[in-house]
Symmetry: C2
Subunit: 489 residues, 2 copies
């Protein structure tokens, strides 16, 4: 392995030369333009301090620690209202089920249920949580690729509104479980629209597997076959994408009626609508940022399909299609996650350490938040703001890394900011989708979640303590018990 | 976006044709050869059931659930003994500090401390844990890139054996904190050997920054500058790599003496030794597995540097170097993680659902364990065994995916196994490095950890419960309190 070293060092030298020659050019390509503060209802006070609803965000650290997730309750309710709104003149809107897996913070989910949303759950634990939060069974959709017989039994016995079966092989199991319970299960079947790749999810329409699965489902005596369930393969960010997806599903619904005599009662189109201020960074973008410290570009927010546009783009074609057939339309279910919650939460964090400028002219700031609490940022654009923006010039290009002992823990390979010092605060936008469920306890306890609304900040999840992190330690439990009776350390 | 659809479907058709033509060839390249069971002290009983130390592994599910991490205590103690062994004829061996971040299971760490290992911690929480587990302060190394002043103060006040400072900027902070405490801090400085890229870690030797940092450190009145700290840039799996690394550090240690008059008392060479049965899968390997269902190839286990060879390769050159100078050698610290714990733990899991063969002839099995509990497997080879291997032929190529609702949740794109049914058990080897700390609560509670040793299975961490998952829910805490006094649901 060391035999290749001299050659490797030559090629490294060559790479360095090329890199130096290119980096001035590359960095100049597109200077970063921040999305406006008003996108998130943020403002700055006279001291340059970031505020939400007139409350300084850096003031939250004293009570709740850092890092900290902060929920914008007003935006959360507003997004929920947009999803549930009936388009003007339409007979019905969508029935909306919050995707639990996207942001399983009970306090957030309670607010969404208050707004009239049901629950879309994908595991036995999420089903348990929905029932714990008091969601009526008929307002629960139970999805998921890995349900055991016990989990299916739980769903059937709870009489949930819809169990979407993932594959043909699950049909037979669900029928058997329902029979054992002496019940009938209300089911849909997940299908993959033509052109999509379903992976482990659903049966393909284009191979005929989906039709066969429905044929088989209709033969099972303990299944009520109510629905067609599908997800778009990727993020939906334009009206034509949505239109093509809905069109393919309506064609299949017609085929079910023509070939099997099945009138679909529920059309469940899943989630996948984009959060307009987040986009996936290409490998090229990531390489340019890492190698040349080129700052990323925000998505074209105004061009992304809005929640209103999405609801319109679903309800209108479905109503028109069935009006033309002279039939009542099926109920239209949606399961939003990203678009519902993504932009309603931010992650506040602080600078722990700043190091000297390296050879490439990049200064490093090491934060108390990293991929342990912001995993989606390894591949997504998220707007960043300093919690206090000083007046005057003097900005510097930073590489912002996290607190875990791995070089992979990098949140922003390149982002220009005012001069940072240890203790300075930052706000990472759009932390409401997949930040909380993908968080780990890697070397650090997990943050709290606080909601900002009309009144005082409202804690939703308290920050994790060191004691929490050993609460499952079995010998520890014994030691603590000893301690409680006066023995032990 | 839909305008490109006809063209996209042509190119998709072309890709499919090429793929079909190639896949027979590609799959034939190298049939998978399993590493022998004895590599992990495993055996099979007369029924084909997998055993560790004579105990059937599938019997553990009944009490501890699935998935489940299982620790091989004998192997753990054996690895620890190899790291602490003094090479024959050498005056000293290494002083060994277990990397807490690699597998922060208190029961595992207790065993390692019983074997005489100290603690290498990288955060305030890990420092707290080491003290909670009763580790003597002088047996603790405190590392990490993101220490606040409070964390540094905690380390200094606890009088830990060594605080390795990460950057020049941290020197001044550490000195100030020590002064405020009226103490002197025992410090090392992290350096980056020539040719390596340190990222956010350490000061580079080749630019002179490391020497300057030591010069500055020696001027701080409240720092005792004891050590040089470095990590190899990447995994060490051969003797020449180690030799080159140690040589570069010894050259720098000489330079510190010649230029600054500093006699280094501690040489801390970090971790990075490979686990011999795990290797990183290249992007090419991953693509071949995903596209053509080609099975991965195990690493050349016998060629990988062993723990014994590693200790030899450290101790001998360091002793020889200082013997030639007529000086006593510095203390030699190592911080193993991967090589110490990787192959001492496995992940048991079960098949939740099996689906039909798809067009490519691949059958899908959906497991109750996925990237939520086995994140390192997105880029690493890990041997897999069926918990019960039936006699006779009839193997099938499977794609093994996890329980979370994302296509990315794939553990094995291709692996040939006996015919699987829901409920069947599997054992994923080498789950002792980074599986536990990178685990999440994504839609599923986290598994328990059980140790197998001489006697009965010993629980180290109990499985997480649904109640655990809402224990930080603030309104929930209120509800539970109401419930306890007889109100609530």
């Amino acid at each position: 392995m060391s035999a290749g070293a001299p050659r490797a060092s030559w090629s490294r030298a060559a790479r360095t030369l090329v890199k130096r020659a290119l980096e001035g050019v590359v960095r100049g390509w597109t200077p970063r333009v921040d999305l406006p503060l008003s996108t998130w209802r943020l403002t700055r006070d006279a001291d340059g301090a970031l505020e939400l609803g007139g409350r300084r965000l850096d003031g939250l650290f004293a009570q709740w620690g850092s890092p900290l997730y902060v929920v914008d309750e007003m935006r959360l309710r507003e997004n929920a209202a947009r999803f549930t709104a009936r388009p003007e003149g339409a007979a019905h809107g969508c029935e909306v089920f919050a995707s639990y897996k996207t942001n399983p913070v009970p306090g957030v989910l309670r607010t969404l249920h208050e707004c009239g949303l049901g629950a879309e759950v994908t595991s036995a634990w999420e089903l348990w949580l929905a029932r714990r939060l008091g969601v009526a069974p008929e307002r629960i959709i139970f999805n998921g690729p890995a349900r055991t017989d016990e989990a299916l039994a739980e769903g059937i016995a709870s009489n949930v509104g819809l169990i979407n079966l993932n594959t043909r092989s699950e049909l037979v199991r669900a029928d058997r479980v329902a029979r054992q319970l002496g019940r009938r299960a209300r089911v849909g079947l997940r299908v993959v629209p033509p052109g999509g790749a379903g992976g482990q999810f659903g049966e393909r329409i284009d191979t005929g597997a989906a039709l066969e699965a429905f044929r088989e489902a209709l033969q099972q005596p303990h299944l009520d076959v109510l629905g067609v369930h599908a997800h778009y393969n990727g993020r939906i960010d334009s009206a034509p994408q949505l239109s093509q997806f809905v069109g393919a599903l309506l064609t299949f619904v017609d085929e079910l009626q023509a070939r099997l005599g099945l009138r679909v009662q529920i059309l469940d189109v899943g989630g996948n609508l984009a959060c307009p201020t987040v986009h996936t960074l290409s490998r090229r973008d990531l390489r340019l940022a890492q190698t040349f410290a080129r700052e990323p570009t925000p998505p074209p927010v105004d061009e992304v399909l809005s929640i209103d546009g999405y609801v319109e783009g679903l309800v209108r074609p479905v109503e028109a299609h069935f009006a033309a057939l002279g039939q009542p339309p099926p109920r239209l279910f949606v399961e939003p996650g990203r678009a519902l919650m993504g932009n309603t939460q931010m992650l506040l964090c602080r600078v722990a350490s700043v190091r000297d400028v390296d050879e490439a002219g990049v200064r490093w700031a090491i934060l108390d938040a990293g991929i342990n609490v912001a995993e989606p940022m390894t591949s997504e654009f998220h707007q960043l703001f300093a919690l206090v923006e000083p007046r005057g010039p003097g900005r510097q290009l930073y590489r912002l890394t996290g607190p875990t002992c791995t070089q992979a823990d990098c949140l922003y390979p390149a982002w220009r900011l005012p001069k940072l010092r240890p203790g300075d605060g930052l706000a990472i936008m759009d932390a409401g989708a997949y930040f909380v469920p993908s968080s780990t306890c890697f070397s650090h306890a997990r943050p709290g979640v606080v909601a900002l609304g009309d009144g005082a900040p409202r804690p939703l999840l308290r920050p994790e303590t060191f004691e929490d992190l050993v609460s499952r330690d079995e010998p520890g439990a014994v030691l603590r018990a000893l301690h409680a009776v006066g023995g032990g350390p």
